[in-house]
């Protein structure tokens, strides 16, 4: 088993890095380029960029940011938010993305994941699932940045997404996101028991206890935003504990 990958999550609105709480209530953090270079120098394993408004307005500002970033940053970059067509995906790869993350379009367009993985290879396709708890050990997949209930059960949808050719799952707990109260390991275990592809777990990272648990449960990767952006932790310190 290789070490858990630590992936700073960069939510982007217009040209700013922002932080959300439960995927809502934006606060501006700063210049994404500067902050991303800092994470790279501090040995982040990958970077994750999500355009928070793209899926509402059908536009994407992130491609410019990552294209500029690729001059200085040499780690894998995943980009998501508002990717609805093969062309959208292609333009992201051309801008310097190594993987793309899709949520809304993957749910709404029946063959989207199949077509993406056929065209670009499974390894570059991440299914992003925003999970909202509805009862004990049951979660619903939300779309449009946590605004809309898709009606799909998270575990069922994870299985189907993997079958359709997704190479990885970005699994975010909406309930815990921005709260620092800890990752939802129940959610991870429930999905992990059903799919064989790697899972990036996110939403609520807030303590070293999370790291110990993640290690014990063989979590593949962690997506962390607020805890890093607000400097509660540094990547170097986190990696020392792994």
């Amino acid at each position: 088993m290789s070490k858990i990958r630590i992936i700073p999550r960069m939510d982007i609105k217009n040209s700013n890095l922002v932080k959300t709480i439960k995927l809502d209530g934006l606060r501006v953090i700063g210049d994404p380029n500067k902050i991303a270079i800092n994470y790279y120098n501090n040995l982040a394993d990958e970077l994750l960029f999500l355009d928070t408004v793209a899926s509402l307005y059908g536009r994407n500002n992130v491609s410019q940011i990552i294209s500029e970033l690729s001059k200085n940053v040499f780690i894998p970059i995943t980009v998501g938010g508002g990717i609805r067509s093969l062309n959208d995906a292609l333009s992201m790869f051309k801008s310097g993305a190594d993987k793309i993350a899709v949520n809304t379009a993957a749910i709404k367009k029946k063959n989207f994941l199949n077509n993406l993985s056929k065209e670009f290879g499974s390894q570059s396709i991440v299914t992003s699932i925003d999970a909202k708890k509805i009862e004990n050990k049951k979660w619903r997949a939300f779309i449009n940045n946590g605004r809309e209930d898709s009606g799909l059960d998270v575990i069922e949808w994870s299985k189907r997404a993997a079958d359709k050719g997704a190479g990885e799952i970005l699994l975010t707990s909406i309930d815990n996101e921005g709260t620092y109260k800890g990752l939802d390991f129940d959610l991870f275990n429930s999905v992990s028991a059903q799919v064989k592809i790697p899972i990036i777990l996110g939403g609520g990272f807030g303590s070293l206890e999370d790291l110990a648990k993640a290690k014990k449960m063989n979590v593949d990767a962690l997506s962390i935003s607020g805890a890093l952006h607000y400097k509660k932790f540094s990547i170097k310190n986190i990696k020392k504990k792994l």
């Binding site: 394993d45 690729s70 780690i75 592809i197 790697p198």
Partner: protein
């Protein structure tokens, strides 16, 4: 001094922007090539690639690049395959039914059957061990690790072609192939931070 120009083969797959930036970062110029003439007059060639083997080879052939790549490598021009580009150097792949590669290094591409908790695709950073019998010095430091993302691996016919390897659980997986002027990196040097830039430079500096 004029900067050496590195040709990156652009056949429509993967993130070649990052690769070109990594080459430029090392002080070289980049030219994207997608026709046989440009390949034949290249001095150093990188064959990138991600995705499925069969689709990759089809795209190479659609653009009429197959013969030019073989001819150039026969002349002794340094050529580096990265990820899928490395796997395409092999004789054949068993991904989605058999398909033929460039056969520049004897071997087969096979699905990795990893034991838990390792998953396929394997995604993550690994340290590379260099085969002691090789005389190629990549100057890899003890702490250098490299970014891998793949489900298939290169099974070399001859042990000595497997210049570097990584271990996933109890499995030994080829990380570097090397035979004369032909090089292949299974990992992404352009995505492996400073260690990656350094091992990419090793190849770029070849005369």
């Amino acid at each position: 001094m004029k900067k050496k120009i590195i040709s990156i083969i652009d056949y429509g797959v993967g993130n070649i922007l990052s690769l070109s930036r990594a080459v430029e970062f090392n002080g070289y110029k980049v030219r994207f090539v997608n026709n046989p003439e440009d390949i034949l007059c290249s001095n150093t060639i990188i064959l990138p690639g991600v995705g499925a083997f069969k689709r990759g080879m089809e795209k190479i052939k659609e653009k009429n690049l197959y013969e030019a790549i073989i001819e150039t490598s026969n002349k002794g021009t340094p050529i580096l395959g990265i990820c899928l580009g490395m796997q395409m150097l092999a004789g054949e792949s068993q991904e989605f039914g058999k398909s033929k590669g460039f056969n520049l290094i004897d071997g087969k591409i096979k699905l990795m059957r990893l034991n838990k908790p390792n998953k396929t695709p394997f995604i993550g950073w690994k340290k590379i061990l260099v085969n002691k019998t090789t005389n190629v010095d990549f100057s890899i430091n003890k702490n250098d690790s490299f970014y891998f993302i793949h489900s298939y691996h290169f099974e070399c016919e001859r042990k000595k072609d497997m210049t570097g390897f990584v271990t996933y659980g109890d499995k030994k997986i080829t990380a570097i192939v090397c035979k004369d002027n032909i090089y292949g990196y299974q990992f992404h040097p352009e995505k492996s931070g400073k260690s990656g830039l350094k091992i990419l430079k090793y190849f770029l500096d070849l005369k």
